[in-house]
Amino acid sequence: MNQFNKYILVLFVFFIMTSCRKEIPEINRPEDYVEGNFSEVFDAYWNGMNNNYVFWDIDTTNWDRVYKQYKPLFAKLNLADSIDVRTGYTYFKEMTSGLIDSHYDLSFNDSWLADSSSINPAYQRKLAKPDYHDPISVLHFYYTLPDNYLDEGWKRGFVNVGNSQYVAVAGTIDQHTLYFYFNSFNLKSLYEADGDNAVKTVEQYFFDMINNTPDIKGIILDVRGNGGGALADLNFLLGRMIDKRLDFGFTRSKQGNGRLDYSPWTPAFVTPQDSARNITAPIVMLADAWSVSMSEITTMAVKSLPNGHFVGERTWGGNGPLTANKFYNGGQFSTGFINQTYTSSLMFKYRDGKIYEGIGFPPDIEVKYDEAALEVGTDPQLEAALKLTQ
């Protein structure tokens, strides 16, 4: 009987041990939190970031420390008090100040924050740099540059769509160097839009020049001050200048709720278009500290060409593509309090194995912003690019 009792005890211990697993925490959609107080506001946002932010692998922000430090602080705030709401805004600014994602932008629904700008950590860091400068005025590209540098016959135009204005300028320099400036990546959409628009006319001119200029000495793509836009423009634009697939990097997405759960790396490439002409002359990207996202991706792609160059300044440093959260199970989300947490869906790695998020892509020929030169109508960055095409 004693023996029997021992075995019963063994079985009992066995079944007790089966309850030794950790409990699975309840993870809720950030949008579903009912934000009647600041504790809920904090939990919705903190957990949304915990599960959706795509850069935890390389970000130096200690998100657990943020939880321990700010959860009690938010718990003391009153959502019905405008001063506390302002304090909450300051906490959000502090919590996000080190986030590496340079697309990152936090905007709020609360009416007491209607006059507050959205929180953009990369912009705050940029402002604090000693070499900070404002973007080059679009008027330089629209008026000064064509007058001073382009051959006769250049084209320029703009179109307003919703709240956005799209500007493009194209022409030749010394007859055999093609120049194309555009302030945003919406080229394919505008080109395929029904009816005529001024940007479409400029695009058509530039594409005709690519196809019909017999002795191209170089192509300059000017994305200075270009804030990015549609990824579809990569094939639409660069795909016209190559005759075989151009691999230039990799992307990966979240693949689980854990901060370090990632998919394998997927190749990033440009696909040649049917009407492509293989350009062997130098293709020069002109980019600066205000070249963001698709501008940086396009610059990296061009830099991967044997005839590719990059002149200008280190770029902004926000190169992870964005799409809706459901597509890659990560990235952007909203809460009741936060209108939008604008953040990348994918992490981008250049073909050299480095991730330039938060750092910016460096030029191979650095030419700093020169306000004095621009004021008198000269463009040292463009002139440096021209040296590569002559």
């Binding site: 063994v10 041990m17 689980g256 394998p264 997927t266 597509f327 994918l346």
Partner: protein
């Protein structure tokens, strides 16, 4: 030199075990098929779930009998604990299959009951396993690889029409910040065994491994744990060391 020393040590141990353990020790081989379920949660991830995936296992059972109905058993094994993440509806076709190889050592009490030849048995114990390697195979939509243009008047049925799939099949890269490679757990098995000439015992067993170790280290607040639950069916054969040696002794006597 090292090889010779190792061989000698093995032979010495076998001889020592054979002499000392007499009828109590049985050694064999086993193999089987299993299905591993990942006990976890996908949270609110859109159209995403984890599915069980089959695998196989191979082992070397070693049983030491205290009496007719009780033994302890150790079974150094190779075992796969596989699972798959699948997306559905519009995202159909996006998946990742994880094939995970473990070197495992279950240690159990072996209770048997029944007749002389045909007996039933119950195994209960625990195991330690080392996550030795992994492989991931799957497909994701490549944001840089657009599908053919979709006419304005055409429906879009699946994600891969918008972005072409990138298929991959590669070695799993362990992340020392996240992956916990040592797994401890409980196991239970039930089966039947059939003795042949007091030398061999064939057995069939259904077995369940219940992991108590999260596959991940505790590296984040509100971490969703992942545990392996592995169900398997295995067959094998145990060899009675004493009876094999006894026959050899008899043959030696006849020669003398």
């Amino acid at each position: 030199m090292n090889c010779k020393l190792f061989t000698f040590a093995i032979l010495f141990c076998c001889n020592f075990i054979a002499l000392k353990t007499q009828a109590q020790l049985e050694v064999g081989i086993s193999g089987g098929y299993n299905k591993n379920y990942l006990y976890t949660s996908t949270g609110y991830r859109a159209f995403t779930k984890y599915d069980a995936v089959s695998g196989f296992e191979l082992g070397v059972p070693i049983q030491y009998h205290f009496n007719e109905w009780l033994a302890i058993q150790a079974e150094p094994s190779y075992i796969q604990k596989n699972y798959e993440q699948n997306r559905s509806h519009f995202f159909e076709g996006v998946y990742q299959k994880n094939t995970n190889s473990y070197i495992q050592l279950p240690l159990m009490a072996h209770f048997s009951f029944g007749g002389k030849q045909l007996r039933g048995f119950l195994n209960i114990g625990g195991y330690g396993a080392y996550w030795a390697s992994g492989k991931v195979k799957g497909a994701v939509a490549n944001v840089f690889d657009n599908g053919p243009e979709i006419p304005d008047d055409q429906d879009i049925d699946e994600y891969f029409q918008l972005n072409q799939p990138h298929h991959y099949n590669e070695k799993y890269t362990f992340d020392s910040r996240r992956d916990r490679r040592l797994e401890l757990g409980l196991m239970a098995g039930i089966g039947i065994e059939y003795a042949i000439l007091n030398k061999y015992r064939l057995f069939v067993e259904g077995r369940y491994y219940y992991s108590l170790s999260d596959q991940q280290k505790n590296y984040m607040i509100n971490q969703i744990p992942r545990y392996n639950d592995t169900y398997g069916v295995r067959i094998g054969c145990l060899f009675n060391i004493k009876n094999i040696f006894r026959k050899q002794e008899t043959q030696t006597l006849i020669k003398d």
